[in-house]
Structure formats: structure tokens, C-alpha cells
Amino acid sequence: MNLEVFKQISDTNRWGLLLPEIYLVGLALILLVFEMLFRRQDLLLIVRVAIWGQVLLLGLMVLQYLEGFPTGSVTAFSGLLTQTPATEVMRLFFVAGSILVSFLATTYLRRQNLPRTEFFAITMLITVAMMVLVQSSQFVLFFVALETVTIGFYVLVAYCRQSPFSLEAGLKFLILGALSSAILLFGIVFLYGVAGNPALPGHVADSMNFADLASFIAANPTNPLVLIGTCLVLAGVAFKVGAVPFQIWIPDVYQGAPTPVTAFLAVSSKAAGVFVLLTLVRGPFASLHSFLVPLLSTVAVLTILFGNLTALPQRNVKRLMGLSGIAHAGYLLVGVVASMTVDWAVYAVVFYLITYLLASFGVFGVMIQMAGDDDSDQEVDHYEDLGQRHPFLAGVLTVGLGSLAGIPPLGGFIGKLLIFIAAFQAGLYGLLAASIIGVVISIYYYFGWIREAVFRVWRSPEGSPAQEGASTFTVSTVEIVTLGGLSALTIGIGIFPSLVDCLMRL
């Protein structure tokens, strides 16, 4: 064997590029050790270590980027990883998401009396897998990272082992998730097989690699096996995002899963899926432009209309967030389609994801406070008179929902605007029309919820079931600061969008 080859390969293993991931894995393992050492003695210690450890990581990453944000792309581990400015922003995004999920979970798990340590550890491991997933540029790493995310989510969705709802949601997610993984895998196998076929022109030796695959597909854009493989891979990713033919799991799983997990699925998992889709359509599948644009456009239009129309009559807030999340996946798909012709659409998508993170976690935070000790108050009717009962929570809810609906002074508006401009520049007028119709529909159900919470609704004097079971609130200072901070950021990004923009321009 030629030792020089091994030396060249090992020289590209730059572990320093993966320090945040290594730190998070270490933190997760330390938590498990603490659980063994301090069992039952100091639960607060584990919570503190989990959350402050992640906040420290986020702080260190931000400090490092303030010194000099990476420009251009870096490839390491012999082509397994590619880091670009966009992936760096996504890594920050996932760490921030992980902190917020852990934070929501402290309240939720304490009320439900569920074990905490495992939850934090699994959350961090999923986050690491998502961070690796967005950087992966090779199908083996891609598949393993994606499956780590999915299998971690099976555990988290079924985390309330005493609740039949949670278990049932877990089983549904398990079956459909495994089905989509198998479809994705079959697509990868097809692409691998056809790209390495020595009989075809432009065949490549390393056909799992995105860059090599891109050069092969550019040489054979009409090969039927390439098209089948591409469709299967995109179908598998579309499942994670919740795009239309693969959206059936979303309402049930979102409703049954513990609320912090619903937030995690809605924000981080969807963001990972969308970003992976961006990498794929701009990388290996870029030469299938004329085939993918009509296909993805159709999916995007159907996703937007399906999400908004099914959310209209919905009264359960978790299902409402799930179904409206499908619509948001549709807007993000518009950005993905636009990014095939307009380069800066990638940043429009990332910006949208950031505003979606801020707004969604605010709303989910209020939902956890509202749901009561047994997590049963999940109807829109339960939010009646929230404005009188707890004006602060009502304010956070209004800002969050307003941003999701895309009301001008808030962050969500700028996010939608950027995506629409990108779609306009790419000449996707049909998609633009469908998105605007979708936004108009969405204002109806988001404002129905806001109206229930903030404005006094006339009810017949004898029947108002929500009032009797109205839960009392004990919102701690930390929760007020965090939720208030999320709302402030949502408003701040809406007024000064350059806050995020300067992060990406660097």
C-alpha cells in the first residue's frame, strides 16, 4: 500500500474546524456522567450545566466570528465536509435552537415530572448531527448525520412514555421517518451506481462526493437513472421538511410530541432539511435545472396552499403551528427554487429561518406556559382573555404570531419580503402569486388566535368553559427575560434588518 496516499488523506483531517461539535458531544457526555454521580441530589446542577454550557459555546462561536468571519469555502476530511459562510450561520442557528429547546424543556419537564438529563443529552447530540449535516458534502456522511437526527427525534417525540399520545406520535414518526429514509437511501444508491458506471461518459471514481457527482450529472443530465435517483433523494429530504406529498405525519406528530420537541422539530429540523435541499439543488443537482424548477415549483405551490387551507379551521394550537409550519416550508421552498438562478436567495432563506426561529420559539414558550400542569390546554379557546390574565405573555404571543404572519414592523415581514424579491428576480411569478395568496390566508388564522388572546370576545354569559379551567401562571424572571428577548429581537430585526445582514456580509 502506498503510505503517501494515507498521509495526504490524514492531512486534510482538520479537527479544529469541528471544535463546536466536539464541545457539544463532550457536554452531552459530561451531563450523563453527572447524572450518575449526583443522582437525585442536585437536579438544578444538571439544568445549569446543560444550558450555561451551551450559552458559553454560542458566546465563544460569536466571539470567534467577530474576529473574522470565514469567507469562501473550506473543504476538509478529504471532501467529506465543506464549510461556507452560510453553513457557519446555520451552525450558530442550531446552537441557538438547542439552547432555546433546552430552556423550554426545563419548564415542561419539571411540570410533567420527566427525567431531564437524557433529554438535554439527546437534544445536544441531535444538534451536533444537524450541524454536521449542513456541512456534509458526501453522501455517506450525509446519510449518517441525517439518520442520527431522525433516530434522535424518534426518542424525543416518544419521550413522555406515560402518555399514549406521545407514544403514538413516536410510532407514526418512526414508521414514516424510516420509510422516507429508505427512499432517500435508494436514491443515493441509484446515483452512486450510475455515476460510477465505467460505460458512461464522464463517470467518476468517487461518486458519493457531491462535487464529483455534480460533474457527472452535468455530463449526463437526461439519464433516466439519474432522474429517478434525484427524485428519490429529494423525496426523502422533502419528508423532513414537510413538503406536500410527504406532509401527512406533521399534524399528528406535532400534536402528540412534547411541546419543546414540537418546537425543535418545527424550527431546527425543518431548517436542516431546507438547508440540505439548498446544498443539493445548488451542488450536485445544479445541472438538472430545467427538470427541477417545474417539479419543485409545483411542490412549493401545493405546500403553501395545503398548509394554509388546512390550518384555517384548526382549533388545536399545536396542530395549527404544525399546519402553518407546512406553509412556511412552502415559502422556504420558493426561496430554494429561486436560489437556483439568484445566488443571494440562499441568504434570503437563511434570514427567513432566523426570523422563523425567533418568532416560533416565542409562541411555543407561551404555549408551554398556557398548557397547564397536565399539558391539556391546547385549544385556541383556552387563550381567551390572556391579555387580562397575563399581559406580558399576550404581548409575546402577539409579536410572535404577527411575525409569523408577516406584519410589517416585525422580522417575519422582512424575511418574506426578501424571499419574494428573490422569487421576482428569478422570474417565478406564479410562485410569487401563490405565496402572496398564502400569506393573505394565513393572516386570518393567526389573527383569529391573537384576537382570542388580546381582544375581549363576546360570549354568552352561561357558557365559557375555558374560564373555569383557566390555569394560573407562575412565570419566572428567567422566562420573562428570555421570551422578552425573543420578542425584542423579532421587532429589532424587523426595524434594523442589517443586524442579521452584517453577520452574513462579514
Binding site: 433516530i151 424518534y154 407514544l167 403514538e168 420509510l179 429508505a182 435508494f186 444508491v189 452512486y192
Partner: protein
């Protein structure tokens, strides 16, 4: 007699189709789970065949990762099915429909 690539791919496609329709049509969760594994195995067979006929080793390597992932999936999946069976005393999908509007 040597088999051609197409015969391997035919068997693989058949296994995948059986698994796919098994997931869609069967009512017992355990059988659905077996069908899912069959789909993964179909992918593995195709991978090995491609690897052999293309003369690259990536496919063989990938198989080990897939087997590991499948094992993790089964471990988590069976745990969920057992926990659900303890709650519901059933593994039939018709009886698992408490999540509705």
C-alpha cells in the same frame, strides 16, 4: 454462468417494492417494521451490486454504515412499540388513532 448487474437490480427493486407496499398495506406494526427493514436491505443489495460492477469500494463501505443505522433504528423502534403495547394492548394500526382533530 455469471449474473449480470440487471438481475441484481431486478431482485433489489422487487424487494424494495415488496417492502414499500408492505408498509402501505399491512395493518400490524411489527410487519410494517419488517417491511421497512426489507427496503433497507434492498438498498444494500443494490449498493453491493453496483460496487462490484463499478469496481469502487465506497459501496461496500457504505453498507456497514447502513447496517449500523438500521440496528439503531430497530432498537429505538422496538422500544417504542413495546411501550405502546403496554399502554394499548395492541399493535394494530387501526387502534392507534387517538390523535385526531
Amino acid at each position: 454462468m455469471t449474473l449480470s448487474l440487471n438481475s441484481f437490480l431486478f431482485v433489489s427493486g422487487l424487494l424494495f417494492a415488496i417492502g414499500f407496499f408492505g408498509v402501505l398495506l399491512r395493518r400490524n406494526v411489527l410487519v410494517i417494521f419488517m417491511s421497512l427493514e426489507m427496503m433497507l436491505n434492498a438498498a444494500i443489495l443494490a449498493l453491493i451490486a453496483f460496487s462490484r460492477f463499478n469496481g469502487t469500494m465506497d459501496g461496500n463501505l457504505f453498507v456497514f454504515f447502513i447496517i449500523t443505522v438500521a440496528a439503531a433504528e430497530i432498537a429505538v423502534g422496538l422500544a417504542i412499540i413495546v411501550a405502546l403495547f403496554r399502554k394499548r394492548q395492541s399493535v394494530m394500526v387501526e387502534q392507534l388513532s387517538s390523535l385526531k382533530n
